[in-house]
Point group: C2
Chain length 434, copies 2
Amino acid sequence: MLRIPSISADPAYAKDVRAAASWVGKRLENAGIEHVQTLETGGHPVVYGDWLHAEGQPTVLIYGHFDVQPAEPLELWDSDPFDPVIKDGKVFARAATDMKGNLLLPIVACEALLNTDGTLPVNIKFLFEGEEEIGSRSFSGFLEKHKELLACDLVISADSGVGTEENPTVGTGVRGVFSMQINVKTADMDMHSGFGGGIAPNAIHELVRILDSMRDEDGRILVDGFYDQVHTLSDDEKAQVAQFDAFPEGIRESVGFKEFFGEPEFTPMERGVARPTLEVNGIWGGYQGAGGKTVIPCEAHAKLTARLVPDQDPKRIQELMEAHIKAHTFRSVDVTIEDEHGTPPYRVPGDYPALKVLENVMEEMTGHPVKRQWAGGSVPVTSLFKDMLGAETLSLGGSQDDERPHAPNEFYRLSSFTHIQKAYCLFLQELSKS
Amino acid sequence: MLRIPSISADPAYAKDVRAAASWVGKRLENAGIEHVQTLETGGHPVVYGDWLHAEGQPTVLIYGHFDVQPAEPLELWDSDPFDPVIKDGKVFARAATDMKGNLLLPIVACEALLNTDGTLPVNIKFLFEGEEEIGSRSFSGFLEKHKELLACDLVISADSGVGTEENPTVGTGVRGVFSMQINVKTADMDMHSGFGGGIAPNAIHELVRILDSMRDEDGRILVDGFYDQVHTLSDDEKAQVAQFDAFPEGIRESVGFKEFFGEPEFTPMERGVARPTLEVNGIWGGYQGAGGKTVIPCEAHAKLTARLVPDQDPKRIQELMEAHIKAHTFRSVDVTIEDEHGTPPYRVPGDYPALKVLENVMEEMTGHPVKRQWAGGSVPVTSLFKDMLGAETLSLGGSQDDERPHAPNEFYRLSSFTHIQKAYCLFLQELSKS
């Protein structure tokens, strides 16, 4: 499965995304799951399967994705990202932790229960998509169309982690996300900088000015109204976040940046999970080869994403971003925006009964108190499940914070297979008794 | 010759630069030029040849280059940049006008004189280099080492134009140039923007802030002291520049930008030849592929060039740029500068006798008054010839303003071969009589 380069962002890999879907379907069938089918979405396909023989019991929809991030920059990988290497109890490959490792956990858990008990304690629906890494863009339409097939009492996202055995956590929230690409075009062709310098606009400078206008030195977002809908943290919420105050330092050391960056009036952990962000993910324009080329480039491009927190609305953010870009564009320059999509932030209600069940299971398994944790990342579908299926989403997966999702040398601990498989079995059993 | 991709900026094409040198050497020999040799510089080679039998006559060194700019962006070319196409009396190819067409003019002129008269009116030395498009970086050391071989009374640069037959011009100045690459590194690896957003610095944002701090909205350069050495134009100089006030509009139309850009207190033509500029020529960092990738990039890069005017000194500009970048860099971020090189601006003295000879030839040939013209581009070697050989440099070439040097669909008018070949013959003859 790790050998399949199921990169959803690049159309050149569409057949690999489909190959990954096919792999997942076969694995579900082998596990004893029924009605396995590949469903079309207009984009990359979805894989569905179910086991619905636990009469009177709740129905749990288990969610995951089989698409992966691009592997670039390839030169920073110690081994081929699509040729997994096992070393020191870890498997190294693109998508090892996000989320081809996690994807297998609920499947093998159900397989084990079916092989042992001949039955499952609750009804199960599996739903694996192929567009999570590109914002689950066809998923909303897909859910709308298949509402009845997917009806459930509770969703579990396997695209997640539950801390370590010493420090168990349950995820109770994710940030939303808003993405766009900005294209600047100043002329029909590049110009010699000798002839054009002093006369012609430069697409890179125009883009740079737009981008630089969006954040101040501390990373505060200068887009008018951007913070208007941001929920102010209560003291309880600050205390919950503060439980993870050591977390950013671990990230800092493993990634190797020297100082924390961001709004100084918030702690790094608060900034990482409870404050919105705006980041340029990529930029390009003009001559990028060896040596120099004295041109005034006529085109420049940047990809951006914002992370959103309650109660920000991606549609509102889109309007604000567009207005900001318009206000910071010269009349004489063509600025176009493309590829906009967004998903709202999500929080599990604090008093949600199944949340307590999961917390009890993790506490019993590990012998440690479980901390509720908000994540800085985004799982676009959580808010869709709430809106379309009326179901809350809990998280149960094996990812740990140092496993380099989206980065070179991504890995997954093999020990997560036993630990989290067991958690799945216990949780489903306890859920049937609750 | 146009089929040889002699791109000096990219080491992958080093053997092609050498192939172009070899072509030029053979062409000189075929023309009857003596002592033809390829000389090493430490970088790309130089081709030398001479004809020194005009006793008592001045020695003219004819300068040109056989290296070319990269051809990117390839998708904007209507035909292969290295497979010349002739259409409507024009040859389309990379380096057609800059300067493989021009390079041939003095060679065929001398060949014609030798075939007709059996002799040349003055002594001639040919000097063609292979690093003009990368700032002639080995040329200073080369001239120092070969001072005696290259001793001359006058230099003619064939890397130029003399207007049109209706509007003849002579070049009497070029801008200088200063180049650098800025590299920003914020961490050892890219980060997931969910985990790192709000915690980690972003290399693209750091670079964008440095670049944006260098110019204001009107293109005024905000680097402290940048304008300190800029010569203030006299009324006579303003009038000389104003003769070409229609020139920028022609550029604007052919390149297709909507409005002129630059300091509003100067005319576009003044800005184009008598004011310094600062341009980002290329930028790159993070994810640039299809779709999106939610990373916080740890590296970003930009290539910059400044065009310099009298009396700016590239060494001083280098110091000012470095100080500015340092002042606009966060402590926590690694900013490195590489590939710095520069060359001063150059002006031919207004009362230089050979300039008058050239003006007379062009006036007689065309029947129109000749305008003295400063160019916005740079010919790095002109100031070197002045410093090292004590010789002024005149310009005589066939390039016209609309021929797209450094840009896609570059071309050269075939009519320049007859027109400027004749100008070379007449100029060398008149020079022997003056």
